[in-house]
Symmetry: C2
Subunit: 336 residues, 2 copies
């Protein structure tokens, strides 16, 4: 414990009023100098600058934003900050390249929290918001959009609202995974996915059912969707791999489920194709074959769309679908 901070004499921040008093000039003279008004005489300007230096006065950026109406800041409202999120990483990179700062907050898959976060960013007059939308009802966004909010949705569209969005080609990814396993001789393929109330999860599960129908494969005990809970996933796995006609291959709905599935394996030789790549994929034995999303393209496109929207509020809405890619690494090439 130290007391040095006391000596710094932390007090309230000096204001323009303090500067005016120190310089012995009118408040509006300080304001004009701070705002680079060149009509202020050199001698007056010097007195103001000296007072600013003496008091270490710093203009309040919020005040300046009020005048200029720009901030150079984007908000990002994502499921969870402290999780691996390559799309957020790509968003940050693309924003930085455009000299924009990203301030991000977690929505924790909680609709009320999403609303609080987004509304707070709106009130702060961020230039734009990148949103991983949660809820089914985004009506709260309507007045914000009407008032000029620039928004781009990533990973999922904002259901019911016509806003820019960037999503992966989920159906094509599932089709590629299914075709790959079928080409390796699998006829009993199971799907373990996320909660279908989530748009992405629903797209993937729907695509899986369509693949099975087209292949003439029975779906009994083969489709398991729901929340990402270890116990649920272990049960789903037990069902898919039990019974008289067990699955010989599994497609997972996202990277977290891939981890849980592999964690539950008891050295079984079951083929696995995971949706979504992650650093875990190459730690497993065999390495995980995955449907990789193009996170870089998603993040960069999101920033492109947002900047275009900021430049022209009235441009047509864009919905961009980004291709996915099957990366074969071993786990998806095992025979039945």
């Amino acid at each position: 414990m130290h007391g040095e901070v006391n000596k710094r004499g932390r007090t309230r921040r000096p204001t323009m009023v303090d500067v005016a008093r120190e310089a012995g000039v009118a408040l509006r003279t300080v304001s004009r100098v701070v705002n680079d008004d060149t009509t202020v005489g050199a001698e007056l300007a010097k007195r103001v600058h000296d007072a600013i230096a003496a008091l270490d006065y710093r203009p309040d950026e919020r005040a300046r934003h009020l005048r200029l109406g720009v901030t150079g800041t984007l908000g990002a409202a994502v499921r969870q900050l402290s999780h691996v999120n390559p799309v957020l990483r790509a968003v940050e990179r693309a924003a930085r390249a455009a000299d924009l700062m990203v301030l991000a907050a977690s929505t924790e898959d909680d609709e009320r929290l999403e609303r609080r976060v987004v509304e707070s960013m709106c009130r702060r007059r961020f230039d734009g918001i990148v949103l991983e939308p949660i809820g089914a009802d985004h009506g709260y966004l309507l007045p914000e959009l009407a008032a000029g909010l620039c928004l781009v949705a990533v990973d999922r569209p904002v259901l019911g609202l016509d806003v820019d969005c960037v999503i992966s080609d989920n159906a094509a990814g599932i089709q590629a995974a299914y075709a790959h396993l079928a080409a390796h001789g699998h006829r009993r393929i199971a799907y373990i996915g996320d909660d279908e109330r989530i748009f992405t999860a629903q797209e993937r599960a729907t695509a899986f059912r369509a693949c099975a129908a087209e292949a003439g494969a029975a779906l009994d005990g083969m489709v398991h969707t729901g929340p990402i809970q270890p116990a649920r996933i272990a049960n789903a796995l037990a069902t898919a791999l039990g019974g008289p006609d067990p699955a010989t291959a599994i497609i997972t709905g996202n990277a977290t489920i891939s981890v849980e599935v592999v964690r539950s394996f008891d050295d079984r030789r079951v083929a696995v194709v995971g949706f979504d790549d992650s650093e875990l994929a190459t730690l497993l034995r065999p390495d995980l074959t995955v449907v990789a999303q193009d996170d870089q393209a998603i993040g960069a496109t999101a920033i492109d769309l947002l900047r275009a929207r900021i430049a022209d509020h009235n441009r047509p809405v864009h919905r961009v679908t980004v291709p996915v890619e099957l990366l074969t690494r071993g786990s998806g090439e095992q025979p039945p």
Copy 2:
């Protein structure tokens, strides 16, 4: 592509001036109503409220903050947002429990970026900042601290400045790891750690050297610190496990290095104790024995310190060291 947005007629946000015009009242009447000044007559107040509703006027939070001087928002400047960061997660949780929103930005281990992020948060008058400090020189913080910035450092102290911080007991963690391996019969123990320019990495490497000295163990080829690059770590591993008297056990300096070390293993039976727990630890075979940091305590303590600092700028500086815990899971219990 859709054009519905056009019909919404996105324009600039309505201002108080628009409200005053719509209501047919003076601007300061609008201001008084917005600020809940009860001395405004009921009829006037109603006209203002009607105009606010008609225009869907929303007060600019930045303006309100200018008046009230509070924002209910904390900034978090961390190495990398889109990485697993259980401390940030704990910070968010503790902040949310105190009804504070966390807006986070990445510093990418880049001193200049750290400065830009922190200064921007200061100019936005965030209530406080949680910082994972990067650089050796934090002089830029001095005027901000003098001007009232409330700051808490996590994981590492702000070198050279006397500010609140919360760090793990790095030395105790290394000592526990070393003693554990020694108790399992290891005499040749290697350390592969992070860049020693990072405070935490330096504390851990120093503690390792002290343990070896106390045990009377030779350090030739046994200590490898530097940037987290797969090739460097593979080389370090080759050196430690090669030669006439190879290491039979390895202590790693952080979770990312643990992953790289395990990834480089070719089914060797070498004991490993990792510093820092992660979801990867229980995916490995055998599961990884780790020195686990108490992320929950670190995050919660950081928010406690920050709130106390906000409440009393002049309270003494606190430096809190949080205990670590050895979790034995298999990899650290293998014999030489």
